[in-house]
Amino acid sequence: MTVATHPIRRRRRGAARAWRAGVIAWLLVLPSLSVFVYMIIVALQKPLDITSGALWPVSGATFDNFAQVLSGSDFMRFIVNSLVIGVASTLVSLALGIPAAFAVSHWRQRRTATVFLIARMLPGVALVVPWFLIFTQLKLIDSYIGMTLSHVFVTLPFIVWMMIPFFDDLPQDLWEAALVDGAGHARYFFTVAAPLIRTGAAAAAILAFIFSWNQFMFAVVLSGRVTQTVPVAVFQFMSYGSSNWGQITAAAVLITLPVVVISLIVQRWIVTGLTAGAVKG
């Protein structure tokens, strides 16, 4: 910093260095992104190009694969199922998780917080086996309630864990001012704290919805004809011996697209959410 260089030369060298840094960064990330490019290319290919293993839609790009997937008898129903279950589990998790996160932060219940962390770390198979057996006896297999409950297991601990730092960051003065005004814990929560963290809550809700949308293991065991979600439906389509890769990749693009679009819109919050628990704040 203290080296005496001519300012212009230093700036030019800085620009060159930035350019080089950019090239290196892109070179490191591009291989990872090429998987998405490949997915889109195959989805746009005609069957002949796919079976020849071509890396480009040689005989012309086509949207036939997408059209076939979308006009497939049930694809829309699976999307509606995913939406309904995703929204329901997100709403339940917000309603229960935000007050819980507030309590953890407000009364410094760190030990309770680790309960939610451990719930996030249990292997899904440890729960889906007993759930399947219990749900069978309760006639909850292939029901929206059963599916939503299983997804709440994913979204609720996540929302609690993500929201705790937001409540932690509220200045202590706010609570003291509320005390002076004679507000109790409940009024402080509803009129001061909750409104202040609503941006964070919105981000948590979006991420929770994505996690529900992406959920596969619980859905593959607990859903059936009625409540099948998109990931399960597409997987079953593939496992019935179909090797129609054009349609499979088109379906993959259609499932992933909403998630990618959402994630690019709320990118800053996604980083907070995905690293929740590892990085403070």
Binding site: I118, P123, S150, F216, A278
Partner: protein, 303 residues
């Protein structure tokens, strides 16, 4: 909390304390209650199953004590799956850590398209796992897949990837690395952003090379952050299900059968609920031990 007048010390704080506990219960109760319903009840049910010999019809089980666990201890397939789970998780996490920190350092530099690249880099971990697993399945295809096209283009002989028992697990590790390196990158980036600049400036004044600055100044300061990231990722890697289930289903034969897959097979293919329950319990014990290690280490970091 203790600012009330001295005369009221005996009665008012106590009433207030009990009201406070009531509030606490109202705020925390529903979430904890639902979680207990979803986690504790099934786990207790699992334990009762594990000590019985329950037929798949779930009617008329007989108490067998710890027989299922004894059988598990002698089950070669279970131990092979356990070893595979640890091998998969360890190798994936080691590679992800090296690559993730490297990419984080590259993305920490100043350049024009940085914010765009930062939002693109996280796509693999946010994209629907089943969808991208199907794309990888196609990429691994010996005849149609892009990976062999690349190998042939650079003059190498094609591979069988997930169809080759020796290559199947490494291939799945490749998928894991692709999917989850961004997590290490994001956490490391957050750590880099929070580093104090004085030590680096001091090292620059001392004339340390960029590499030495990174290795001797930046990396030691980042170690706690990276440590937590690695442990979190390790636990997550142990529970990996979607890509393995979609791409290989545990095969060829049992070459990629991790604990998750084995338990799934026991419960839903072989229809042995009691034996599966015993395996689940041992699996959960492994996971809880690892989770406790994470909690302890992340506490140590804050102090």
């Amino acid at each position: 909390m203790t600012t009330s007048a001295p005369t009221a010390v005996t009665t008012r704080p106590r009433r207030r304390a009990s009201r406070e506990i009531g509030f606490r219960a109202a705020f925390l109760g529903p979430a904890l209650g639902l979680l207990a319903l979803l986690v504790v009840v099934p786990l207790i049910y699992t334990i009762t199953l594990a000590v019985q010999d329950m037929p798949a019809s779930l009617r008329g089980g007989t108490f067998v004590g710890l027989d299922n666990f004894a059988a598990l201890a002698g089950d070669g397939r279970f131990w092979a799956a356990t070893a595979r789970t640890f091998a998969y998780s360890l190798s994936a996490v080691v590679i992800e850590t090296v690559l993730g920190v490297l990419i984080a350092v590259a993305l920490h530099q100043e350049f024009r398209s940085r914010s765009l690249l930062r939002s693109l880099v996280l796509l693999p971990m946010i994209a629907t796992p089943v969808a991208i697993s199907m794309v990888w399945r196609l990429m691994f295809q010996p005849q149609l897949g892009v990976l062999n096209s690349i190998l042939e283009a650079v003059g190498l002989s094609p591979l069988d990837w997930v169809a080759d028992p020796a290559l199947a697990l490494p291939s799945l590790i490749l998928v894991d690395v692709w999917e989850w390196t961004p997590l290490i990158t994001l956490i490391t980036l957050a750590g880099l952003a929070g580093l104090p600049s004085e030590p680096l400036e001091a090292a620059m004044v001392d004339g340390a090379s960029p590499w030495r600055r990174f290795w001797h100044v930046t990396l030691p300061m980042l170690r706690p952050v990276i440590g937590v990231a690695v442990l979190l990722r390790f636990i997550e890697a142990m529970r990996t299900f979607d890509p393995i289930f979609v791409i290989t289903g545990g095969g060829p034969r049992e070459a990629t059968e991790t604990l998750n897959l084995y338990v799934y097979q026991l419960a839903f293919q072989y229809l042995r609920p009691s034996y599966a329950a015993a395996a689940v319990i041992v699996f959960v014990i492994f996971m809880v031990l690892c989770s406790l290690a994470v909690v302890r280490l992340s506490k140590g970091e804050k102090r």
